[in-house]
């Protein structure tokens, strides 16, 4: 079996599990446990990874991995990043400091981003509150990492497919 993978990362509650669920052909395999952290705002959270897949034929499949969100699981991020075709970073705009959240993922996945493809998705965007989309693009420009930054609702399959479209055109361009 030939296997490829795309990675979804981002803060706890940003929607990694939901995004994978929207496009996976199989019911996603989640390793959620009851959360002991009351600040993350949900009962269960992912501690190892989420997994979904898309069949590309009889002998080939695309694996969709969601990383655990909390930074204490950063050791898992590097393992999961090995050999990935591209990365989707989900940023929860409703968190206290979403710009800082984004920087954490840009730093930790820097090598993968520079060598593959990356789309930054701002979830739960509230345009009446900062940071604005422009603040995210400016912050990325400062780090010389200029990639798509788009708001999206990852519960909507069409929007997740559009995210993958922007990722795919980068992969095809790099080829």
């Amino acid at each position: 079996m030939i296997e490829h993978k795309i990675l979804f990362t981002g803060t706890v509650g940003a929607g990694k599990t939901t995004a994978i669920q929207a496009i996976s052909e199989i019911p996603p395999v989640c390793t959620d446990v009851l959360s002991s952290d009351p600040t993350i705002g949900k009962e269960k959270t992912t501690v190892a990874l989420d997994y979904g897949e898309i069949s590309l034929g009889k002998t080939e499949r695309l694996r969709l991995y969601g990383t655990p969100g909390q930074q204490r699981f950063a050791f898992m991020w590097k393992i999961l990043a090995q050999g990935a075709l591209g990365l989707v970073i989900l940023v929860d705009h409703s968190r206290p400091d979403p710009l800082r959240d984004l920087m954490i993922y840009l730093d930790n996945f820097k090598t993968l981003i520079q060598e593959s493809a990356c789309v930054v998705v701002i979830c739960k965007m509230d345009e009446s509150h900062p940071p604005l989309l422009e603040d995210f693009t400016q912050a990325m420009k400062q780090k010389q990492m200029v990639y798509p930054v788009i708001p999206a609702d990852v519960r909507d399959k069409e929007q997740v497919l559009w995210i993958l479209e922007l990722l795919l055109v980068q992969m095809e361009t790099r080829q």
Partner: protein, 243 residues
Amino acid sequence: MMHDNDLAEDEIAISYASACCSRRDLVLLKSVLSLYGAQGHAVWHYHRSREVDVLVIGPEIASAEAAAVLHSDARNGGQAMLWINDLPVSPDNPRVFQCKPPLRALQLVAKLKQIELYIRQQRARQAASPRFEGREQLETARFALIQWPPLDFFSGDKDFLRMSSMLSVRRMTLDELTLQSTRPREKCRKFLYEMHRAGYARLIGPEEENPLPPASAQSNAPKRSGLNGLFSRIRASLGLSSA
């Protein structure tokens, strides 16, 4: 008429025009601008044409016309707009500066400072980019994405979004972009022209001609050979049309 030679070294001249403004707002604006310029800030001067640095739009504009102006503005070379009205404006449009009526001097001065900073940054960006010689150069020059544009720039054009995504991983010429995107050459030309004009893409000088960043010696990236057809198969499985 103000000439750059008339200015002190750090001063800049900013041209502006107005539309749909009330008489009261224009009088206040001109009074504040004369005081503002006298305090060592940019020198603002009025023009009748719309080919100016800043367009001031008053409250008497119809909302349909306002929407048209905003869309054209997003693709129009970085022209700043001072909106003196209550109309909704996307907060992530960096060129639009809004003062809600009734216009007050302090609020106006704060916006003038923001606009001045914006124009200084735009001019610095243009000065740092190799000189753009027009259509002929557009045919051969290589372009790099320097900032992801705001959503207003795209105006819902998915081809422009795709092309921006392509340009985020590779510096490209018009020929390369046309080939890669499979979109009409005229559309690709328009995209590059507008991206450059708005300051989101810059020309690459001959000394930077490396189109792709060098791969790390300890690359984690999958082997690129053997990817032929993979992306087509992914597209087919996801129901996405080919690029």
